[in-house]
């Protein structure tokens, strides 16, 4: 039985983790900046990161559905197994709908997403100030949700690594 994640799964996990950390930090930092050329750049970069996460998430979900992950450590209480299951479902959901809400927000505010400055994404909705305001809130709320879930995810991984010492964290790294 496979005891660790595949190289592809591991690569996707950490790549997406890195991009989310960068995208989140940038998003947090840029929002309250006064308007400047730099701010416009940060917004573009933030959107590019979001599109990249969305594309990688598609790849990742496909991989996940076609490759069975290693089983949870034996002896984990049922509630923890349940929490793990739903926590991961939540994370998967958010890496899709968080970028999507950003794309919607961009469309509604009339500032379309042009991926890497090269490919313009179609607008999902027309320009609408009220809707843009709502979508901004939704995007922030989902980002906060992701922050909380990632926090729990990291704490749980630490618990397995340092308290349970069950080698769970190592499975999400490249095997030798």
């Amino acid at each position: 039985m496979t005891q660790r994640y595949t190289r592809t799964a591991v690569s996707l996990h950490w790549l997406i983790a890195l991009l989310i950390a960068g995208g989140f930090g940038l998003g947090w930092f840029m929002t309250d900046l006064p308007l400047s050329p730099a701010k416009l750049k940060y917004y573009s970069w933030h959107k590019w990161i979001g599109v990249t996460v969305f594309l990688l998430a598609l790849l990742r979900l496909t991989w996940r559905l076609t490759h069975r992950p290693p089983p949870l450590p034996s002896g984990m209480p049922a509630w923890q197994q349940q929490a793990s299951e739903w926590g991961h479902r939540g994370l998967y959901l958010l890496i899709f709908i968080l970028p999507l809400s950003g794309w919607l927000y961009s469309s509604a505010s009339g500032y379309p997403v042009v991926y890497l400055g090269l490919v313009q994404l179609p607008d999902l909705v027309g320009r609408d100030k009220v809707l843009a305001g709502v979508l901004h809130e939704v995007h922030e709320l989902l980002a906060t949700g992701l922050l909380v879930l990632v926090g729990v995810h990291v704490l749980a991984a630490f618990k397995h690594h340092f308290l349970d010492r069950d080698g769970l964290l190592g499975r999400m790294w490249f095997g030798t």
Binding site: P37, L40, K41, G110, Y111, V114, G117, Q120
Partner: protein, 182 residues
């Protein structure tokens, strides 16, 4: 610059000997002008919400047509209040010192069908240049509609300082849809 009173305009046209139709005010609510610019290749539309002016046009005598249009730069709406405030600043439109951008036609030429070539003077931020642009004229039941677009270089008129050049393209496409009730 104030709108030339209709009577004065008619008088001046008469003095040229042309029997031009009277210049009629445009419908400010239905008339629209937008400017599309690109920032980091992202096309963004801004709308000039305050537009006024007069047009005289007779399809039988297109060469006698004339147009005088003015736009309040402070009415430029980019969809976000901080952006709107930014473009009213000195570096951009400097709306306090130059509240209006104007177009005054000097010549009108029929190109066939509903297409015409308009020439005139475009003044933005205190700078005036001669421009020429194609205009489509549609005669509707209750109104005459003038449509067209023209590329405008920001730098020609000193709109936006150098610090923005890296992210905002120089060429801006201005589109207009002017409705004159009949």
């Amino acid at each position: 610059m104030k709108i030339v009173p209709k009577s004065l305009l008619a008088l001046s046209l008469l003095s040229f000997g042309a029997l031009a139709p009277a210049a009629l005010g445009i419908d400010s609510a239905k008339s629209k002008a937008t400017a599309t610019f690109k920032q980091m290749n992202v096309p963004v539309d801004g709308e000039f919400t305050k537009i006024a002016g007069t047009v005289s046009f007779d399809p039988a005598k297109p060469e006698a047509a004339s147009a005088s249009i003015e736009i309040e730069t402070a009415g430029f709406d980019l969809g976000m209040e901080d952006y709107n405030a930014e473009v009213r600043k000195k570096e951009w439109f400097d709306s306090k010192a130059y509240p209006k951008a104007t177009f005054q036609s000097t010549a009108f030429k029929a190109l066939g069908g509903d297409r015409y070539q308009a020439s005139g003077r475009l003044s933005i931020k205190g700078k005036t240049t001669d421009i020429s642009l194609p205009v489509t004229v549609k005669r509707e039941a209750a109104a005459t509609v003038f449509e067209g677009s023209l590329p405008v270089s920001r730098k020609t008129y000193g709109i936006g300082d150098a610090s923005w050049d890296e992210v905002v393209e120089d060429l801006v496409t201005v589109k207009f849809h002017i409705v004159q009730p009949r």
